[in-house]
Symmetry: C2
Subunit: 321 residues, 2 copies
């Protein structure tokens, strides 16, 4: 299978590593909008300007679009779908439908297959929510994220005056997790499920009290959440707050005659981009299969038969079952 | 959707309750090989002899085959597939391939769709294993069952001389669960993963030391496992050991650059037949959809698109995603 990687940030780099480790994958190259001369790709890997990717039509089975979710994917995934099969990890939940429809239109015209919003949430967590809601009676399904960095919240802090560096960790409220697990709450608000822990490196002479107050009162992002703000040195920031680990769990409770029935899916990623890249890679193989079978247009993880992820032949099917 | 239930043991009764609670399901009836006059079905539910089920051809969209796995399903599922779409929960892992092939042959001839081995293991646990093996690097996936009753082990104890009643609980070895979760073992044998706790009501004047020794030395079933045998009174047996609860988890560990990536799916069923019946019911709806789309023959949970389990319209798809 001939794959290409578009975008060479954390996710693109992780996708490259994942692809290089697979026997049945050959890598056409990395496509970036940065000056490709400055890209540090491993020996033997080709890097091309993204603007030239259309010239590779017919030479790529599937593109892993690893560009930024918020700004880049809404444009580049429909564009790529006009030429290639493509998978992406678009993760702005509220805008998935719009992204899906634009990509679907492009893919149908071109006869390609796209799978959008592939990763762990949306992705594996979506699958968990779906299976739980399908099989439980009167299902109550909650999703917890963390402990892990929220890029959006981190960016919001960095825009505050006097902030040099910052990092926000979203952490599930353990008492809420336990209450959900024990079937004791149906009506937690989002703000009761998570707390927010911020680490801030202030600029010299910055007013830390003002920064703390501005963070804690920021509507939508922090206000109403249990929020802790820690001011730290640059050294501590660089040594203690570089991890890309993330975690989360989906808990589903169903009514039962003799109590509740509970399903839970949990995840710990020592590297968030690494796990997301591996999920993208698995679904990119399925994407090529779907297209080969004539299933064209835009799809999500919900449209992929689990068996399309099996690649060690039909023998494996009965071993895993 | 017109469904019928074949078999009226614990699973059949739970399937009936699940079906009666669904708005979009109409129940044709319960089909049993016992004398239907003696079946205690709820008011308004029809009970018919199983021998008459073929007369209902064209009047049933899907049959939930809830008969015994070991002895009944290998015969009755291929038989039912000659007339109807059918789902079952065949759970003898080593024989699924054979069962699949016999059912496939019958279903293809008749133009019906069957989904076999639907439940939590095989079923939801199989799906977890598949997704984990597909997305993790160098995946190591372990399955733990329990705490819950193993019917096979319970039956084995009941055949021993001097045993009046018995129950065997399979329990994961907590230290093994933790070691697997922490990525510390790749090579646990089955006997290191689970222990076995037995409750036995001896017959009057039975030789309990001999019973205990016979249990602990029974090859395959108990020998080599950490096994505890408790002798109890009939009263205690009836008051403390009737629960149909079960549990289990699937843990997958993948190699990562910065540590391991871990996925875990866990389940607690306050009633094992109740949860299994609900899973069967969800997949029975998908079975009818698959057949309507021309996807005939025998399938497993791996061949069902997750979206085929969604029944509140396409709107729900983007809410769950």
């Amino acid at each position: 299978m001939k794959i290409a990687i578009a975008g060479y940030g954390n996710l693109g780099k992780a996708a490259l590593e994942a692809a290089l480790g697979e026997k049945d994958v050959s890598l056409v190259g990395v496509f970036s909008r940065r000056n490709v001369k400055n890209l540090s790709v491993p020996d033997g890997v080709s890097a091309y300007p993204f603007s030239q990717i259309a010239d590779f039509k017919g030479k790529i089975d599937v593109v892993l679009n690893c560009m930024g979710s918020a700004r880049d994917l809404p444009k580049t995934t429909p564009f790529l779908a006009s030429f290639f099969n493509v998978v992406d990890s678009f993760d702005t939940h509220a805008r998935i439908k719009e992204h899906f429809e634009k990509t679907d239109s492009a893919a149908r015209k071109a006869g390609t297959t796209a799978i959008v919003s592939v990763g762990w949430d949306p992705g594996l967590f979506s699958l968990s929510r779906l299976y739980m809601k399908s099989v439980l009676a009167e299902p109550v399904v909650h999703t917890f994220w963390g402990k892990g960095v929220s890029q959006g919240h981190t960016d919001a802090i960095r825009e505050i005056d006097g902030v040099l560096f910052a990092r926000e960790y979203t952490v599930p409220v353990e008492a809420a997790v336990e209450a959900v697990r024990n079937g004791k709450s149906k009506n937690f608000s989002e703000k009761q499920l998570h707390r927010r822990i911020c680490y801030v490196v202030p600029k010299e002479n910055a007013d830390t009290a003002a920064i703390e107050s501005e963070i804690k009162n920021m509507p939508e992002y922090f206000k109403g959440y249990e929020t802790t703000v820690n001011f730290i040195t640059l050294d501590e920031f660089l040594s203690e707050h570089q991890s890309m680990a993330h975690a989360g769990n989906v808990i589903g409770i169903g009514r039962g005659k003799e109590g509740t029935n509970r399903l839970e899916f949990s995840l710990f990623a020592s590297s968030n981009p690494e796990l997301t890249a591996r999920i993208l890679l698995a679904f990119s193989k399925a994407c090529v299969r779907l297209n080969g079978r004539g299933e064209k247009g835009c799809k999500t993880v919900f449209d992929v038969r689990p068996s399309d992820l099996l690649f060690d032949g039909e023998k494996e099917r009965f071993l895993i079952l």
